[in-house]
Assembly symmetry: C2
Homo-oligomer: 628 residues x 2
C-alpha cells in the first residue's frame, strides 16, 4: 500500500496556469508528431484545454504507484490523440524529455495509440468506441466491487459517437447509475475525411445523452473556466453519469490547420511556425493531486461450496457444468465476478447470480459492452467470467482483439456450440468461434466434452493470463473423465488407445461421443481406432497428436465447427513440421445448416458417428493400399 | 416484370377483421411452437396485433413475385418471433397449412429463425439488433438507388434496443432522412430472463428516438385503431424515419403467460387451453395489397473508364489499386455501389466517390451499420463494395457471419493489413482477419501482392456469390504480375520456379516481396527456392501447393497475420490428405507488435526476407539430413 497522502487542494494550479498548460500540450503534440513523421496533432490540439484542466485541477493520480487502487482512471477513448496523452504524462512527470522523443519508434512505450506498456494506461485504445464502454466497466468496479471513491474520466472523440458501442455504454452506465463516471466529448466537428453527422451541434449530443439518462453539460472546450466548472459540477451529480459536451476546434491554436478539413492524422506542414504561433516551448510541470488512500478496497466473503463433480457414465450438459463451476468459483473465491448477456438461464450463469448476486452483472443484449465491462473490471484485478451464446461473441470480436492488445485477462464462455443445438437454426449456432478466437494473440480455446472437464478447465482459466475461451454445449454428453483425473489447458485425453490402433479419431466437445460410437462401429469390423479428446484446441496437445501420427496410419479429425481454423487446423499445425505423418482427413461443418434435431443436423453435416466411421474406413483402406 | 396491379384500397380489411386476424396469428403461433416443441410463442403474441394491422392494411406485397422491385420490405429484426412471421405468411397465402406443420423440422423453409429460404424473406435474422440496420440499407436503396416508393418496415424487440447496432441505425437513418423506413418496437417489457432496462417506459424509447432525429409515435400495441393510425401517420412523415413505440404484453391473450416472467422461448404448457382462451381456430385469409408497379427502378448511366493497369516493376500500394479498380468498376457498371467507414482517403474508396457520388455511401465510424447497409443494398441486387481498415471488420464480424446465413453477396475490403503498416501500432493492424473470414461459410479470402492482381480480383468479386474479402496493404509493393496475365479467385502465381527447386516459399501480400528477396539470398548460397504467391488464400490453389509439395523437399509459408487460420493453415489444409509431403514451416506474427517502421516490425515478427531465408535454410538442411 502506498503512503497515504491527502490532496494538496490549497495548492491547485490556477486557471491561467491551465491555459498555459493547454498550450504546452499543443506544442508538445505538434513537435512529437513532427519528429515521428506521423500521428494526430490536430486531434490532440482540440482536446488540449480539456485535458490541461483535468490534469491540473481534477484528476487524482499517484503516478509513483500507478496500480494504487485509489487512483482515478483516465481513458483516451480517442486513442489517436496519443500525442496529447503523452504530453500530459510528460507534464505530470511520468515521461521525461528523452522518452518523449521516442514517440512511435520501435520498443518505445509511447506507441502510436496508447497501450498499458505505458503506465498508468489501463487499456489499449485506437479502435474507436471502446474506451467509454471499458470505462463503464472500471466505474462499475469502483461502485459495486472496490467501493472506493475513485472517478473514471473518458475522453471521447465526436467521430466515435457513431459507434453503437458508445450507446451501449450510455444506456448501461445510466441504468447502473454510475455517477463516478464522466465522459468528455471533444466535439471538434471534423472526422478523418469530412464533417461528422452532427458537426458542431453540441446540443444534439447533449439531447441524446440526456435521453439516455445522463447529465449533460455543454461547454466551450477552449474556455478553461467553463471546463473547470463543468468538471466540478460533474463530481457533484448524484445517481447518474455526466457527459461534458465540449465544442472545440480541431487543430486549435494554429491558423494553418485550425478547423480545417484535410488535416487529420498527419504532422503539421510547418511545425516550427506552429510552435511559435502557440507561444513557443514551455516547461510547466504539474504536481498531480493524490487520491485519498484511507479507505481499503472492499473485499467479499467466501463460503464453503463443494467442487462440482460428476459420476463417470452420467449425462449432463457442459453449459450446466459451466454454471455449477462458476457458482463454485464465486463461492470460494471473492475475486471472481460474472457477466452474462441476458441469456443466463441458457448459459447457466444464473447459478452464479444466485450465490453471489453482488458480483453478478446482467449486461443485457449488448455483447460489446459486456466484453468491455469485463476488460474494465479486470483492470482492477477482479476476475471476470463473461458468457453468452458462442455465436454472439462474434458481436464483440473487435473488443476481444483489443483486449489482447490491452494484455487483459479475460474469460469468455460461449454456449450453444455448433449444429448440435438443433431446431433454433444457424443464427444461434457457434460455428466460427474457435477459428476467430484461436487467432487472438495468446488465447486459449477450450472445448470440453464432459462436465468434469469443465470444472477443471475453469479452475485454471481463473488464474490464466490472456484471453481464455470456453466453448460449451446445449445438449447432454456422457461423462467419461473421472472427477479426479488431471485435465489441463494444453492437455488431451486418449480414449481406448493401444499400440495397435490403425486409425486415430481426434474430436472435441459433442463429437467425442460420436467418435467413441464410431470407434465401436469400426471395432465391430475389426478396425481398431484410437480416440483423442482434444478438449484443449489451443494450445493443442502436440505430444498426443504427434504420437498418434507416429503410431497409427491415418487420422480423422471431427468438429462441430467450420473446417477452417478449428480443431482440424490445430491438428494439422501440430503435425506441420513432421515430415512423416499419415494423411489427415478433416470432418467439419461444410453446409449451411437449417433447423432439425441435433442428430439430423450432425448427420447432415457429416460429423456423426456413421460419417466418422465411413471416413476412417476409407482412410484406413487407402493407407493399407499404400503399405500393401 | 410482373403485371401492374393497383392496390385494392377500397376493399381493405376493416379493423375488426385485423383484431380477429391478430388472434389467429396468436393461435397459430401457439400451435406451431407446441407442435415443434420449441420456439417463442409469447414473443409472437405480443406483436400479433402490430403485424395483423400491418399485413391487413398497410403492407404492399406481391407475394406471387417476391422479387418484384416495387414490393415493400418487412424484416423481423426480432427473428425469434418466427411463429408470428410464418403465421402471417400463412394468412397471406404464402404458406399452406401443411407446410405450417413443418416449422423447425429438417429441410423445412420454416426455420427456427427466418432465412431467405422462405420468400419473401430478404435476410436472415436471429442475431438481435441486425434487422433494423439492414432495413436502413434497403431504405437507402429505395430512396437513393431504385428511387421507388416502396416502404421498409422493421419489427424490433425491446430487448434488442440494448444492441449498439440499433443506435447506429437510428443515427444513420435520421442523417439520411429515410422517411421510407418505419421501425416498430414491440415493447413487451420482458426479456429472456428478466425485465429490460426500460421495462414499459415507452416514453423513454420515444425520447431516445426523437433525440436521434426520428419521429416517434407511442401506441398501445393491442389497440388496432391506434396502430392503424400510427402506420398511416408514419407513411405521411417526410424527411425523417418514424418509429412506432408499442406498449404490449408478452404472451398477450393467455392468462397463464401474459406479462409473466419465465415464459420466454418455450411452448405454452397447455396449448389447447390457450387456443380456446384465444377464441379457437380461425381461417382468415388476407389479400395483401399489391404495390404500384408503374414506375421502373432507376438506373444509372455508365461512362468510359480505362481499366487500371500497372507496369511490371513499378511500385504501388494495393490499397491505391483498390480505389482505382473500384472507380473503374463504378464507372463502367451502373450496379456497383461503394461504402466506406470514414477512412476513404486511407482505403482510397474516395476514388469511387469522385466518379460516382450518387452511388457512394459514407457510413462514418459505424462498421456494423456499414456491413448491414451493404447487405440491405444487396437484397435489391445492387453490388456493394464496403471498405475500412481490415482490423475494424472485426467490429462487424457477427454481421458478416449472419450475411452468410442470409446468402448475401458481400464484397469487403480491409486495408492496412498486418504489422507492415508500421508506426500506428497493433490497434490498427489487421492480424486476425484472414482467420475469421476464412471461417465464414462460402467465403473467399484474397490477399493480392500487387496492383494488377487487385484489378482482376475485384472484377471477379463483383460477380461472385457469397462473402468475398480483399485484404490490401498500406505500403507499396512491386508489381510482378503482368496486367494481361490471368489472375483468378482460387489461383496463384509461381515465381522463379523450376523442377530443381529445393524449397518452396509460399507467401501472400507484403510477404511476397520478402519471399522473393529471400529466394535471392538463398540463391546466392546455392539453394534454389520456388516462390508461390498465393493471392487467393481461400480457395487456395491446391494444385500448385500440392505440386510444390511433390517437387520440393520443404515448404516455408510466410504471412503478415497470426499463425492460426491464415495462409499457413490454408496450405496445411491443401496438403492434409497427402500422405507424403515435406515438412511445412509456418512463419507468422507470433508477437504482440508495437510501433516501429514496417521493416523493423516485419523483422521483429520474423516474417522478413532474412527470417524466411533462415527458416528455408534450416528446413533444407533437415530435409537433406533425412535424405542423406
Amino acid at each position: 500500500m502506498p503512503t497515504p497522502s491527502g490532496p494538496p487542494s490549497d495548492s491547485l494550479p490556477d486557471l491561467d496556469f491551465c491555459a498555459e498548460l493547454g498550450q504546452q500540450l499543443r506544442v508538445d503534440s505538434v513537435v512529437m508528431s513532427d519528429r515521428a513523421g506521423s500521428g494526430h496533432p490536430t486531434s490532440s490540439m482540440s482536446a488540449a484545454d480539456l485535458i490541461a484542466v483535468l490534469l491540473g485541477r481534477h484528476l487524482r493520480w499517484d503516478l509513483q504507484t500507478p496500480d494504487d487502487p485509489h487512483n482515478d482512471h483516465l481513458i483516451f477513448s480517442k486513442g489517436h490523440a496519443s500525442p496529447l496523452y503523452y504530453a500530459m504524462l510528460h507534464a505530470a512527470g511520468a515521461i521525461d524529455e528523452e522518452e518523449l522523443r521516442t514517440y512511435r519508434t520501435l520498443d518505445s512505450r509511447l506507441e502510436g495509440h496508447p497501450t498499458p506498456r505505458m503506465p498508468p494506461t489501463d487499456v489499449a485504445t485506437g479502435s474507436l468506441g471502446q474506451g467509454l464502454p471499458i470505462g463503464v466497466g472500471i466505474a462499475l468496479a469502483g461502485k459495486e466491487l472496490d467501493r472506493l471513491p475513485y472517478r473514471v474520466w473518458v475522453l471521447c472523440g465526436d467521430s466515435e459517437m457513431a459507434e453503437g458501442s458508445i450507446w451501449e455504454a450510455f444506456q448501461y452506465a445510466a441504468w447502473r447509475g454510475l455517477d463516478n463516471l464522466t465522459a468528455i466529448i471533444d466535439v471538434n466537428r471534423l472526422g478523418q475525411t469530412r464533417e461528422t453527422m452532427l458537426g458542431h451541434d453540441v446540443q444534439a449530443y447533449a439531447d441524446r445523452a440526456a435521453a439516455f439518462g445522463w447529465h449533460p453539460i455543454v461547454v466551450d472546450g477552449h474556455d478553461v473556466q467553463a471546463i473547470d466548472a463543468a468538471y466540478d459540477h460533474a463530481a457533484g451529480v448524484k445517481g447518474k453519469p455526466t457527459v461534458v459536451v465540449a465544442r472545440t476546434l480541431k487543430g486549435r491554436g494554429v491558423r494553418a490547420v485550425e478547423d480545417q478539413p484535410g488535416k487529420h492524422g498527419k504532422p503539421l506542414a510547418d511545425a516550427a511556425a506552429a510552435v511559435q504561433e502557440l507561444g513557443g516551448f514551455r516547461d510547466l510541470q504539474v504536481d498531480v493531486q493524490r487520491p485519498d488512500t484511507d479507505r481499503e478496497p472492499h473485499r467479499f466473503t467466501t463460503t464453503q461450496h463443494e467442487r462440482p463433480s460428476y459420476d463417470v457414465g452420467s449425462d449432463g450438459s457442459t453449459r450446466e457444468a459451466y454454471g455449477a463451476a462458476l457458482a463454485w468459483l464465486g463461492a470460494t473465491r471473492e475475486d471472481v465476478v460474472a457477466l452474462d448477456g441476458e441469456v443466463s438461464n441458457s448459459t447457466h450463469a444464473d447459478q452464479f447470480a444466485k450465490i453471489a448476486p453482488e458480483r453478478y452483472f446482467e449486461m443485457f443484449i449488448a455483447e460489446q459492452q459486456m466484453a468491455a465491462a469485463a476488460v474494465g473490471l479486470g483492470t482492477r484485478d477482479w476476475i471476470p467470467f463473461a458468457s453468452t451464446f458462442g455465436a454472439f461473441w462474434a458481436r464483440a470480436y473487435d473488443f476481444v482483439r483489443m483486449a489482447a492488445v490491452s494484455r487483459a485477462d479475460l474469460r469468455l464462455c460461449g454456449s450453444h456450440a455448433g449444429v448440435s443445438i438443433g431446431a433454433d437454426g444457424p443464427s444461434q449456432m457457434a460455428l466460427e468461434d474457435m477459428a476467430s478466437l484461436r487467432a487472438i494473440h495468446g488465447s486459449a480455446v477450450l472445448h470440453p466434452s464432459d462436465a468434469n472437464q469443465v470444472t477443471s478447465l475453469m479452475e485454471q482459466m481463473a488464474d490464466r493470463s490472456g484471453i481464455s475461451y470456453l466453448r460449451v454445449l446445449r445438449g447432454k454428453t456422457t461423462v467419461r473423465t473421472p472427477a479426479d483425473e488431471t485435465v489441463r489447458i494444453g492437455g488431451s485425453r486418449t480414449l481406448a488407445g493401444s499400440d495397435e490402433d490403425e486409425v486415430t479419431l481426434i474430436a472435441c466437445g459433442v463429437t467425442v461421443d460420436e467418435a467413441v460410437k464410431a470407434a465401436d462401429l469400426l471395432a465391430a469390423e475389426g478396425i481398431t481406432a484410437r480416440v483423442i479428446d482434444c478438449y484443449s484446441v489451443k494450445p493443442i496437445d502436440e505430444q498426443a497428436v504427434r504420437r498418434a501420427a507416429g503410431e497409427t496410419s491415418a487420422i480423422v479429425t471431427v468438429e462441430d465447427h467450420r473446417a477452417e481454423g478449428g480443431l482440424g487446423d490445430a491438428v494439422l499445425e501440430a503435425l506441420a513440421e513432421c515430415a512423416d505423418r499419415p494423411r489427415v482427413h478433416k470432418l467439419a461443418v461444410g453446409i449451411m445448416p437449417t433447423s432439425g434435431t441435433p442428430e439430423e443436423l450432425m448427420r447432415a453435416a457429416h460429423i456423426d458417428a456413421r460419417s466418422i466411421a465411413d471416413a476412417a474406413r476409407s482412410v484406413c483402406a487407402e493407407a493399407g493400399q499404400r503399405r500393401g
